[in-house]
Symmetry: C3
Subunit: 439 residues, 3 copies
């Protein structure tokens, strides 16, 4: 897996992506080799809620050349040199006239910034501040050979079916060009999770995997799948900035603050194994769209290092900073989160009138009877402890308490109830009752 | 305004008012010169909930005279000398026989108390304790020329219409005779607020102004308008004891504790700009009727110094104690409270699916585009701050969160969201959604 | 009463009881002399929820005899010597072969333990550890002459009717043989409470008294009366371990945590007059059945010393430990709890529009009028205080606030509102509104 992600990174990094256009399409096709993405597109000009789907941006070349012939910036060398979505231009400008079209970072003089202008039609070049400050006098030739072409905004998705049709949606965005942590780490994590979850022996929920460009892509997806998600979504999260030198996951809660993923991450945070932030409509990624008030879906944002590092949105965000190993850590941690989500929800006691007679089923500790508990190969607690956890699960699995709630009542972790939940499911006393269903 | 209140006070103070009768009617007519009061009356004998509307009390004269001819008390000199609502009497009594009919205040020997006996038919005189202790021996002639006449209990109201038909009700009571803070300050504040609010450029709510006698007047008003208020009332308050040497407003919460006015006052209290007390059915004014369990209206009591001063209900409660300046301070503070109430409630994001495209409307900060925010003449924060507040308002204006709730989430004051709310209303993205309506 | 309980204890103690069988039936008949128990039985073989009603256990004799003729254990001498519900056996065993069939308590070497095996058919003897460690070598004759006979599981109940048909259920269990605190104390307390409550001048609620064997008896009762209880039960409690050297009641809350009895006990606990524990599905008595999720009835467990004493389930649990005096204390305390429950619930103000005119009814303090309050023989507070409590009760008795809630608002105890509640009921302004009814 590690090698796959490593090689994919190298193949994807140099591609010039944007919110539309050939680089984005080509990148999705590369992912399609390893996960069966179905690609759909919302046509240019479609009214999507309060937005209009923009045309595709096709860039042939973008160069800024001094009259001396010296090349100052060339998208062919490093594709963030051109302001993403730049309009075509072919013009000679003095150094002063050029100024408004240049972008650099005085505080990071060696870094080339990443700039975009999707909805305000303009053009520009991004250079390091060192280059900018040493530009010679004279005239500059700015040539951008770009075109805006009718097409559409694409998204690609695939599904791993589960025991029920309630869904957990994992998504990341693919519109950023040569940037590593934000945002090749997210799609790579998504791919790795697809492969891991495809090997699980059982999935209680159906898992949906989605790649799209940020913001307009999320909006287009909601335009096409919003009603479906309203009925089927148990929880979702945007995967973003999944690498970088941070010790553990850093999760932003959904607007509701109580999605099954929210609750698991809050539990991990309480034990020092993750960090949790509140939903914030003023910053973030596509969770802002999923959590807009008309949808208010149970959607969070999973990151390792979201927007809290100086390399954010500039050329310092490279593979060395991101690190494939850090992404692999994220994959393992998110998989573990999802394993816990599988047992943290609402179950239903199928024999709710009085206590079930557990003795008859060998679950009551008895010196003369081998117990289902102790026959288990994964016993981690003595039989009485397991019985007590089963009694807790049975008593409170009434449609009003999740295993998460039960664990809190007991002062324990959700994982401490895994054996009890699985045994009770096995003997037919307990059944998952996902959100939105009722007995 | 100050002069108007000053002159009105002097005209109103000497009038003998009661819960019914000519003094009350005449006082209402005086107010009618400055606000278009519609006067209605509930006839004597009407069963009003658990009460019977009493007859009017017409007093011609009330004098207590020593056999020497010395006048001990005369309502014509100072109208609280007679127990309000006294039955007629013409009797000679010894000093000892007189005792049960005299009222004085041993702890305030110079003050004449204010006493009433509306529903227990009796008579009496109020004198200072100094006078009482020095009464000479001999016989006393008590003459009260009063009559109980069929008529009614009046109330007067007027309306300032707003953009919606949901109402804010401001009321005060006018039954007290020559007392200043309790209770000419309340009606004077009511009048001043009527004049101020009539000049507002916009009123989102409809404002109703009401004058009545205390308790039975409030009951009669509820008898006639209770159903209307149940459907239309957003918030209401009794204005009482609005003068006196206290630094700020002292508000009693409604029984619900979460009326829009309650919330604004709680916010002010948290910032040290007001004091807030809980609703208490054992003391107070007409809010006890509005907050009786059959109505449970969102009704509080606004005071500066309610019942917490020694001058309460005696002759020391005069214009010097009350002070017109203090009343003017209350007028300004209550007006400010109402301005905040106007933007503190529930609004509805009219483009709730995804984030609205604010860039297209010039609300996204952009170096190339003049922004609606910075064109504003009342900019108090930078464009990004204002954008963030607009994003907060848009995301949470879902019918479940008021601007008050949003301000609390953000750790800010309601007023910090005024510009965002007003801009979003102006561009059609936000609409007030008063209590009891739903989209 | 004390003598009755004392004598009954001595009559009941030696009887060999079990969850079924003649000893249980005989014990119920003894109770029937003092309370009109109606006895019902659920037949052997009936499917009761997840359980099958077991046959009756008829024991003629059970003896363990050494080859020397020495009697090691004899149920005729002390009936806990035989494992309760033992299968018949007649066998000669060596000391080693005997071991698995012996039960003793190494930590309490003089005590004989109490053991049962209702649903796992086996047999055994209980002896002191001192006896067990000194068993001579040689052969042992184990003879148990028992039979399993079709019959049924009985329960007995009687009713004290009240002003409404909503019920408070008091129950205890009678299956334990010669043990004192657990469990003759419970049935004795139940009987005493029946006699006390039968003398109350009024009962607002109907009281139901129930005796049954533990667990299977509770299940059978729910099988027959579960639907009735769902509609009628206001609160219930299991009475268990009501004696012992503990200073006050020790109550386990219902699963809901807010039954009327829960609330009264929580109030007592806050004042240091009781101890309260949370509901716990992993231990306890029949409340586990009443609080199973399919029923979730407002049912707690009242004890003085539940399962927290070393004498629990062994021969040290005798009359000296239990003490009739301690049981009498429990009777008095539970009766006092029930008296408070009678006034702690939801009442309805029958004149909810505005304040009722209390003056007309003599409840308003007035120097000229004798007040209903001060005519009362049980005045414990001055007239103004009582009026204030009446105003509190009237204002908040709206269907949403219980007297318990009102007391908490006022920072007082429920008992502080007794006079106000009773007077307001007497004059027709207030009416009990039990759970599940609405005006």
């Amino acid at each position: 897996m590690r090698d796959l992600l490593d090689n994919l990174f190298d193949e994807l990094f140099p591609i010039l992506r944007s919110i539309t256009g050939p680089g984005l399409t080509r990148s999705m096709e590369i992912f399609s080799r390893y996960m069966p993405l179905q690609i759909e597109s919302v046509p240019t000009g479609t009214q999507v809620f309060d937005w209009l789907v923009p045309p595709e941006w096709h860039l042939k070349s973008a160069r800024l050349i001094h009259e001396s012939g010296k090349v100052i910036a060339d998208a062919a060398t490093f594709n963030i040199h051109v302001v993403n979505y730049s309009a075509p231009v072919d013009v000679m400008l003095s150094r002063e006239e050029l100024e408004p079209y240049l972008h650099s970072l005085p505080d990071l003089p060696d870094a080339v910034p990443y700039a975009t202008s999707y909805y305000n039609r303009t053009w520009g070049f991004c250079v390091s501040d060192n280059v900018r400050r040493n530009l010679p006098p004279g005239m500059y030739h700015a040539v951008i050979d770009s075109a805006f072409v009718d097409g559409g905004v694409p998204f690609g998705e695939c599904i791993l079916p589960g025991e029920c049709d309630r869904e957990i949606l994992l998504t990341s965005y693919l519109c950023h060009p040569s940037l590593a942590n934000n945002e090749l780490s997210g799609p790579l994590t998504l791919l790795a999770l697809y492969q891991r979850l495809s090997k699980w022996p059982r999935r209680r929920y159906t898992y949906r995997f989605l790649l799209n460009p940020e913001t307009i892509g999320g909006l287009c997806y909601l335009y096409r799948r919003g009603d479906h998600l309203r009925h089927k979504l148990v929880a979702g999260m945007v995967l973003t900035c999944m690498g970088g030198p941070y010790p553990h996951l850093n999760y932003r809660l959904s607007r509701r603050g109580n999605s099954p993923i929210d609750l698991v991450l809050q539990e991990r945070a309480a034990r020092g194994r993750a960090t949790v932030r509140a939903f914030d409509p003023t910053e973030g990624s596509d969770e802002r769209q999923y959590c807009s008030p008309g949808f208010n879906l149970p959607f969070g944002q999973m990151a390792r290092s979201y927007a809290i590092y100086p390399n954010y949105h500039n050329s310092l965000d490279d593979k060395a900073y991101m690190s494939i190993d850090s992404v692999m850590d994220s994959v393992a941690e998110v998989e573990d989160v999802l394993r816990t989500v599988e047992i943290a929800g609402h179950f239903r006691n199928l024999s709710p009138y009085g206590e079930p007679q557990l003795g008859r089923r060998g679950l009551y500790p008895n010196t003369n009877v081998a117990s289902l508990w102790t026959n288990s190969t994964d016993v981690i607690a003595d039989a009485r402890t397991l019985l007590n956890r089963a009694l807790m699960v049975l008593n409170y699995s009434d449609g009003h308490h999740s295993v998460h709630d039960i664990a809190r009542k007991a002062g324990l972790a959700v994982e401490d109830f895994r054996i009890a939940v699985e045994r009770l499911e096995d003997i037919g006393l307990l059944r998952l009752e996902p959100p939105g269903t009722s007995a």
